[in-house]
Amino acid sequence: MTVADAPGTTGPPLDTRRVDAREKVTGRARYAVDRVPENVAYGAWATARIGKGRVVRVDTAAAEAVPGVRLVITRFGPDELHDVGFLMAGGHAVQSLQPLRDDRIAYRGQPVALVVADSLVAATEAAQLITAEYEEEPFTVKIGAEGAETVLQEQAIPLPFLADVKVGDAEAAFAASPVQITGTYEHPAQHAMPMEPNASVVHWEGDRLIVDDTTQNANAVRFGLATQLGIDPADVEVRSPYVGGGFGQKNAMHLHLGPIAVAARRLGRPVKMVLPRPQVFHLGAFRPNTVHQVRLGANEKGELLAAIHEVDQQTSRHDLFPSEITTVSSRLYATPAFRGEQRLVRTDVQTPGFMRSPHESPSMFAFESAMDELAYATGRDPVELRLAHDTPTDPVTGLPFSGRHLAECLRRGAARFGWDARDPEPGSMTAEDGSAVGWGVAAGCYPGGIVPVVAHLSAVADGTLTVGVGGHEFGQGLRSAVALLVARDLGVPVDTVIVRAGDTRVAPQHLTAGSWGTASALPAVQAALGELREALDVPASGDVDVAAAVRATGRPAVAVEATTLAPGQSRDDLAQLDKGVLAIGGPVYPEFVTFSWAAHFVEVRIERTTRRIRVPRVVSVVDCGRVASPVTAASQVRGGVVWGIGQALREESEVDSRFGGFLNTTLEDYPVPVNLDVQQIDVDFIDEPDLRFNPAGVKGVGEICMVGVSAAIANAVHHATGRRMRRLPIRLEHVL
């Protein structure tokens, strides 16, 4: 799998395989808790068993009597753990509510005590022995249930990018439309469940706090802990070079970090904590439940006259997790009038958060299902209808899109899939074994963000190049993309490039999420390459004999640094990064608007009798600008498609209103796709650089690849059965 893909260079073909694969297949890659420090102690939570209320008393006697138990903590003093704040409200943590600071129980599953012991066995036993008395209060865990409180996002969080979208008079245009599509679509709560649970090792070296954590946001951990413990951020070092999957679940500081840092200081020992899988369901972000009402107005030919997308999105009682549902539905197609309204519904759960294509995939499930309904209502082919609504300008701002190849995604995907052979009549296609066959299509878009990034690049006399860059590697291929960029630019073998990421020692580590990681890091590395060429006194382009050039400087090594910002950002935004505050640019930039685009074509087969739904093949074509790392990008897309399958057919975080919290809190009860669920996935890229967006021409790929898949599946199920699926997941009982 080595390709001759090194334009402008004369060296041997570049090895495009994942650069950190060898460490991973040998088990040598060191994840957060793979460190086993001398004299380490183990932490464990005991959690609340009521839906909401107050802790009256925690009985810790039995726990304290367990041999090997060193600490049982039920309450931290106000000066011991300060407020950190919710990430999306300017703070750093997964939610504003830090357990063990007061007697509030906001939801079932919230910790009520921390145990630290010499062994994991002792810590676990002791945590299980802790009981508590509570004063219970009424609670609500569902949108629409009594006690749920709805707020208008525009009023509750007055930030421009979270405001209602208003283009034209959509209500009037809809009312006057001869064809009206009205649908209510529900997307369940879901949990990302990366394979690596939330886990950390902390230890103190004097006044310095050293943290090994699994995170997509080492800056949040660093600044969050500094805030929480009242220490200088410079004294907090956070290392997260390998992350066992993130998907947004590791975007913010987790709630155990401050408590175990205090425990480690009290004990004078390192403390390790790995959240048991059921606790991961209650202590981290989840994709909130959303209910969408979509109304499309069109003329008899199917031309859109108005689109209205209203959404109710679950949030917690104590925080507002903002919705960006209509950011994408307002951008997908040309329409003269659009209205988007986002409402947040307070329920008694932990604060929801990001999960791969967090808003975009639920948004597209609803909107692209409605578009399919419009196609059927007006007798248009679903692909052709979408092509007819292509637009080079952003319907919301009127600015041009920096790059939009959605039409090409649709055309190419249709050709690869063989869409022409589709009989549009629902239920008309049957497989040899009698299964009903359905073919569905949907498109998607995802905002193109960029954050400020600092890149350090050094070259040494043996020809080795080391990049230290802001950004986390959690499998998406950031390291591979950076190494390939350097190798291509300088015409050197990929294995001479070492990429260090996810470590506060090498560069500020911003939140790596929202598909902006690679699109932000590559421009910084590219700028650093320019600096390096100047420092080495070599031409601005062409192959470089790095070893010779370094030796010619008379120095053992040459080190440079570069910083890049999003278009329109200033040094102030960089200062935000240095304070650990989010500074995200886009998708609306001063002169253009940037999105990634995709089209998905899905075949489903539904068994004749027992009605199991299978997905034998998917074709996905993605416009993510230039493909920076072809091998890892293709893997990202295949993974995103499988996420879409899980989203559409498998995953729902269930709640039982009588008990609060979540019910199916294991990987058995929460069924993510397994190997046999996945068959053929055909991936193609447009691979046109978006050079207005950034000089590397890259846009995000890891999120867009999932957006629209669930709608394509729902549309395919409709094609197979004639039944509209307006609620996910679609299970066999819905087509029995």
Binding site: R18, K24, V25, F247, P276, S635, R638, V678
Partner: protein, 155 residues
């Protein structure tokens, strides 16, 4: 409790409650074996005991007394090169975050040895006990198939 781990004799004073997984990771610092769920639901902790793939999270460590445990750290050849399946995982990009990968490879090596690689669907079935949330399943099947074919052809 005495056993061998990757060919080396190991003797430990164990709490009978401790899992083989925690023994490997916390006592022996063999951290290639991963804890994904600790409940037998994900396969990340797969190791071999006397050549058979098992879940180390559901194996009390005391149960492997006298047996031979092999982990990801022990599958490479004498020259500490890569096992052919490890190489195939690299070549087919059968991984992303890498966290489930040691378990996938331990499972895949056993799947090939068991003879459960007759078709892609058989590989999928017999690799379904190893969840990959990044969903590198297409690559995993390709890597296992290629390695199984090579074994069958005497390579």
């Amino acid at each position: 409790m005495a056993c061998t781990v990757n060919g080396r004799d190991v003797s430990l004073d164990l709490d009978p409650r401790e899992s083989l997984l925690d023994m490997l990771r916390e006592q022996l610092a063999l951290t290639g074996t991963k804890k994904g769920c600790d409940q037998g639901h994900c396969g990340a902790c797969t190791v071999h005991v006397d050549g058979r793939r098992v879940l180390s999270c559901l194996t009390p460590a005391v149960q492997v007394a006298g047996q031979a445990v092999t982990t990801i750290e022990g599958v490479a050849g004498e020259d500490s090169g890569l096992h052919p399946l490890q190489q195939a995982f690299i070549d087919h990009d059968a991984l992303q975050c890498g966290y489930c990968t040691p378990g996938q490879i331990m499972s895949g090596i056993a799947c090939i040895a068991e003879g459960h690689c007759g078709s892609d669907d058989e590989i999928r079935e017999y690799m379904s006990g190893n969840i990959c949330r990044c969903a590198a399943y297409v690559g995993i099947v390709a890597a296992v198939r290629q390695t199984a074919d090579a074994v069958r052809n005497g390579a």
